[in-house]
Symmetry: C2
DNA sequence: CTGTTAGCGCCTTCAA
DNA sequence: TTGAAGGCGCTAACAG
């Protein structure tokens, strides 16, 4: 599988490599005839520009790295897919790196991507460790954190795009209150996630303003799964409880709760209203129809990609920017 | 963001670039002391090997391209994600390219990836156009087709890994027959998909062997979606029908049918048994619990990746190989 | 053990 | 309009 190079073409056409290069790149200083002749030859010989060589010179690869620490999170996986769609429209390619449990850390993925000379990196993570990573690596390559809250003290040195989780929490609380609920449970908040903490605070603040009573059930695990949602919900549902609504910290938690309710014969939304957060694809399914707060994955991805592009264009010396997207309440069938 | 190169390090350390190169690559012919010294310097100066330059020499990039023509298919999206997981374990990176409706064709993606000097390409597609693409491009780069059936006449010149759709169809028919069903509908088969045709034939062959009557509803669209599943199912469900089971050509079709049944008050599996194909994530959800035939996405991805690796290692002159994975019946709650 | 030289495929001055 | 020369960052002979 030896590849034909610019040199081969030059020899065959009886011209210099420079001329071939010019033909390929649509340079102005070349006669239309030679250009045509050379282009045809390229076609015929199956010549393909070696983009690696070009990148070596231009020191731009037109590739961005997408790092996905938790591939099992449908939210982040969807984010990654949307990122690809968006970058492609801007002429960039995506190099996808997902983290695996017990495998080498995110650090090494970053190191690799930088060595691979990606023009920028998008980190789709809700882990609290993310900001530190950015601070460590962003001197070497532009990085944007996607979909995670960044605590204020660090925020000035981080580029990120995230849903406004605080507002999302508020929206949920107000919605449930508007429906007449006065005692609700906040299910599955994670203490070690700033994103979750913020979401929770938004909910509590709005709730207390409205005089709504909320009891929080914390999730000890470090990831939100249907399993933990199921477990946590079971603990509540098994004994008598007075709350009339559950706001789940994420859709997966809500799905778990839904299962628990189902098994115990607790009707949703009859006896209990249920609300999620994220609006992952699952929630739209006929039999599910979960009312939830949408993080607007597509807009998030788009915004993140565009920010990264700006950073790449501007090179060094750009101020750091944080963007917050307002979430959207998706009314479906699990609340009343 | 100027990058420190091997040359910079050499100058700082007062040695030649070769020596630095040797230190970096753990070459044997170098004294431990100088190696240490240089490595420390690299660390300190934040040196990172330019993998593009290295690839230029070795003409191996350690990157494979993954082409995903239809990103809206959960099955193929899952496949792509699993591919990444698998390749990473083998020391390869993934460049992800998804097709977009109305955007440039798959051809151009292939051209691009070849220019980018990927070591191989994995095409996750069920389109009938795929084999032709392979034949056109596989002289330039090793390609494996993943998840699609290849018609026998072309098959000898194609590398592919696919579920055995014929057997999958048989399994479904036999299962339904075993449950006592004698009149069933095959919902949403696509005429222009060999994969679908094969699946259908497997089902029909087994059914007729067992004396089970099957009426097929064809899907005119070129993609399987819940919407079309819904529409097609509605047509049947609206008037009286005698069949007691529906085998959907794919899970998405089944999900649409489920919704239709729901709206019309047709109980599943009470009045009607429902079966899907693919075993996409959705089907495992508590409220769904769709009985289906699993394509074993992970195994499929793993097998495809490994085949591609072999092709890459062997270079030219390897015979073509087709691998068929036996699907697995996943019993859940929609059949009886 | 270390350095010199050449070259991977391409682009970019600078001359002709 | 075309070509020759140099170099992007790195590795691979081949000498010392």
């Amino acid at each position: 599988m030896r590849r034909v190079t610019i040199k081969d073409i030059a020899r065959m056409a009886g011209v210099s490599v420079t001329t071939v290069s010019r033909a390929i790149n649509n340079a102005p200083e070349i006669s239309p005839e030679t250009r045509e002749r050379i282009l045809e030859l390229c076609q015929k010989e199956g010549y393909r520009t070696n983009l690696l060589a070009r990148s070596l010179i231009s020191s731009r690869s037109n590739v961005i790295g997408v790092v996905l620490p938790d591939i099992s999170s449908p939210f982040h996986a969807a984010l990654a897919l949307h990122i690809e769609t968006c970058t492609a429209q801007l002429g960039y390619q995506v190099m996808l790196c997902s983290g695996r449990p017990g495998k080498k850390g995110i650090d090494e993925l970053f190191d690799f991507l930088i060595s691979q000379r990606v023009d920028g990196i998008l980190l789709a993570s809700s882990s609290n460790g993310a900001p530190a990573l950015l601070e460590k690596y962003q001197s070497a390559v532009p990085i944007v954190l996607l979909g995670a809250f960044v605590p204020p003290d660090a925020s000035t040195r981080i580029n990120c795009v995230s849903t406004d989780n605080y507002v999302g929490g508020q929206m949920a609380a107000r919605y449930l209150h508007g429906l007449g609920h006065r005692k609700v449970v906040y299910l599955g908040a994670r203490r070690h996630s700033d994103t979750h903490l913020l979401r929770h605070r938004g909910f509590e603040d709005a709730a207390s303003e409205l005089g709504m009573e909320v009891s929080t059930v914390w999730n000890q695990e470090n990831r939100s799964t249907t399993e933990s949602g199921y477990q946590l919900a079971m603990e509540i549902f098994r004994k008598p409880f007075s709350q009339t609504a559950v706001f789940a910290a994420s859709d997966l938690i809500a799905l778990g709760a839904m299962q628990a309710a189902d098994e115990l014969g607790i009707s949703i939304p009859g006896r209990l209203s249920l609300m999620g957060f994220d609006n992952i694809d699952y929630t739209a399914l006929p039999k599910i129809r979960l009312t939830t707060i949408s993080q607007r994955t597509e807009a998030l991805a788009g915004s993140g990609v565009r920010l990264l592009m700006e950073l790449i264009q501007q090179g060094d010396g750009m101020e750091f920017t944080q963007r917050l997207l307002t979430p959207v309440l998706i009314q479906r069938n699990t609340c009343r």
